[in-house]
Each structure stands twice: as structure tokens, then as C-alpha cells.
């Protein structure tokens, strides 16, 4: 009996968790969920909070939809999925407003926009609707972590070069400023988030040659 059952952390399941970090990264490879990813990465702290919120919403919504997968009528599945996601996002939003008010002010509408974050809908459609709860959970957490990883990298780079701080603490020494070093004001502006992601994609594809796109004719 028990031989038929897959162990909880079999290599197949671990692959679900690990692959989205690099080979199938939601942002740089699947091009999903960029909307909310970039606007909140000026500082490291909101990026981390955002990443954690998305991990929570994706993990739970994947499990819920996976449990409901046989009883959701295919015609109205988008509305059902949106409702599941929206309820979870309301939880996150209320939680942040209660326990991390400053950060929730900074994130403003972007917490709400987790609802239309294409990663969540995309993974629900592509994975949770046709798989068991546990693999769906891993897939959700893995993808959200891949998303969070990019968010944290971008947040780190932008805060370091844009404000000379990390997590609000000064890291560029005062002497450097005295010698004429200046923060790169451009890094705080929204367009630099795009360029930073562009460069991350460049580095990733340089290391991982199989991700390079075919030349279009």
C-alpha cells in the first residue's frame, strides 16, 4: 500500500519547488506577474513584505483551487479563482494594515493588485486545476519564491545605489559622501526597475544558455 504513495519530499516534488527559482522563473522566463513586481522595489523592506504576501496568497490559493478542482464548473472558473484570490488578498491587506502600517502605506494599491497578478492566475490555470493539493502547494510556493527572489534582488540593488542604505540602515560610509560620492537618483525612479530586471535577465541567460530566445525572422 504505502509503496504506491509518493514521499512528501520526493525528487519530483522538490523539482516543483526548485525549478521556478531559475529555469522557469515566473518573472524572467514565464513573463508573469511583472505588474506589481516593479513598482514597490525602491526599498528592500517593501519588496520582502510583498514577496512574503505573494508566497502566502499563492500557496493557499493553489491548495484551495486544487481541492475544489473537481467541483468548479469550467465555464465560470475564472470568477471562482478570482474570488478565492481576492478573499486571501483581503486577509493579507487587513493583516498588513493592522501590524505593519508603514509598509502597507508604501505598498498602497499594489497589495490589491496581487489579485490580478498574472502569476497567481497563471499557475492556478496551468497547475492547480489539474493536480493534487500537495504538489500544487509546492508549485505555488516555488513560483512565488522565484518571483520573490527577483523582487528582493531588484529591491536590494535599487536601495543600495539609490539611497545608499540597506533595510533602512546606512551602508555607504559617510567618508565616501565626503569624498564626493553621490547616490544615483535615477535608481529611485520607476524606469530603473525595468532596466535592472533587463540586466538580471541578461546575466541569467548568459549563465543559462538554454533560455536564450531564437532569433526572430
Amino acid at each position: 500500500m504505502s509503496q504506491d504513495r509518493e514521499p512528501l519530499f520526493s525528487s519530483k516534488n522538490m523539482k516543483l519547488l526548485r525549478e521556478p527559482l531559475d529555469d522557469t522563473n515566473p518573472i524572467t522566463v514565464q513573463v508573469l506577474g511583472i505588474c506589481s513586481a516593479l513598482a514597490i522595489t525602491v526599498k528592500l523592506e517593501p519588496s520582502v513584505v510583498m514577496a512574503l504576501s505573494v508566497v502566502f496568497v499563492m500557496g493557499v490559493s493553489n491548495v484551495v483551487v486544487s481541492l475544489l478542482r473537481s467541483s468548479i464548473p469550467p465555464r465560470i472558473r475564472i470568477i471562482v479563482q478570482l474570488t478565492v484570490i481576492a478573499s486571501l488578498v483581503i486577509l493579507v491587506d487587513e493583516f498588513l494594515a493592522a501590524f505593519a502600517y508603514e509598509v502597507s502605506k508604501q505598498l498602497s494599491v499594489f497589495v490589491g493588485l496581487i489579485i490580478t497578478n498574472c502569476i497567481i492566475m497563471g499557475r492556478l490555470e496551468a497547475f492547480a486545476l489539474s493536480n493534487k493539493p500537495w504538489p500544487s502547494f509546492l508549485d505555488g510556493v516555488g513560483n512565488a519564491a522565484g518571483y520573490g527572489l527577483i523582487l528582493v534582488i531588484v529591491g536590494f540593488v535599487r536601495e543600495l545605489f539609490g539611497s545608499g542604505t540597506i533595510w533602512g540602515y546606512q551602508v555607504v560610509p559617510q567618508q565616501a559622501y565626503a569624498m564626493g560620492y553621490e547616490d544615483n537618483g535615477l535608481m529611485i525612479l520607476p524606469p530603473m526597475a525595468l532596466i535592472t530586471v533587463g540586466i538580471i535577465i541578461w546575466v541569467q541567460r548568459y549563465r543559462n544558455r538554454k533560455l536564450i530566445e531564437e532569433k526572430q525572422s
Partner: protein, 205 residues
Amino acid sequence: MENLVDIFVKSIFVDNMIFAYFLGMCSYLAVSKTVKTSTGLGLAVVFVLGITVPINYLIHNYILKEGALTWISPAYADVDLTFLSFILFIAVIASMVQLVEMVIEKFSPTLYSNLGIFLPLIAVNCSILGGSLFMQERAYNSLAEATVFGLGSGVGWFLAIIGIAAIREKIRYSNVPAPLRGLGITFIITGLMGIAFMGFMGIKF
């Protein structure tokens, strides 16, 4: 009136959905391969934003806002339903998209065949929900202001996607470094366009 023009211009250029807030990036990156399809999607976005923002404005002001239910009975003066706004807004958007799709199919088959595939996609375009959430956050004073804001944001999105599509059609002939090909270069171009758009900052009428 001046106020309306101000909101319109500001929502197109200064608070551009793509360059200032990155909303609707997913469809923006996925669909911007040719100018023709981008035009279709852009028009659909203008259309849907122009409809859903005013509707959500009414919902926000007559149902959700604190004290909004006093038109039913003064006893509801301190009922605050704002926490329901995500669910209601997304429901309005999803159903409006369905409705718009059916209406267009009935009355203008040509427009329908042009927009066809893009309409259902719009329900999950972040710029649509974003429009409603920004409308709520910025607390516009009248229905007219909200409508103008919705249309302006749509036009801004439309301009952005046409621009990137035109550039991508050209860049196909350029010699882009292999790892940067496709997605990477699109990101960087969008960033550069965004820097150009920053030049509009501070415009006021």
C-alpha cells in the same frame, strides 16, 4: 472644466499606467510584437477602463465608503465596507468585460473580430483593477472626474503599447546580444521610454 483637462493630461503622461506604475505589464510584454494587434488590445483597454472606473466610482461612493449607505437609512451612517472593495471591484470588472464582449459581438461584429481574443484577457489586466484602486485612493470628487481619469489612463496605456510595438518591429533587424534577445531588450527599451516620459513630470494646466 480646467480641472478635467488637467486630470486627463496628467493620467496620460505623468501618471502613465505603464511607465510610472508598471500596470498591465504582462499583456504589454506579451502582445506588443506587432503594431496591429497592439492597437486592438490598446483600444479594448481604453474602452474597458472608461466603463469600469465610473461604475466602481459609483459603487465606492454609494455602497462601500464609510457613511455611504445613508441614502438607505441614516442608521447606517457608520457602516464602513471598504474592506470589500477588492472583491466587488474585481467582480464588476469581470462581469463588465463579459457584458462588453456580448454587446460588441451583437452590434459591431467588425470591432468584435478585431478585439475578439483580447477582451477576455482584459479581466486580468492589472491596469484595469489598478485604475479602480487609484480612483479609490485619490478620492476624485465627481463622476466626471473619475470617467476622465479612466479614459486618460487607458489612452496612456494605448500610447505606450503602440510605441513599444513599433520599436520591437524595428529592433528585429538589429544585432542584439544573444542573452538579451527578446524579453531582456524589451525591458530595457521600456525603461528608456519611461525615462523619456519622466520629462512630462510637473506639467500642469
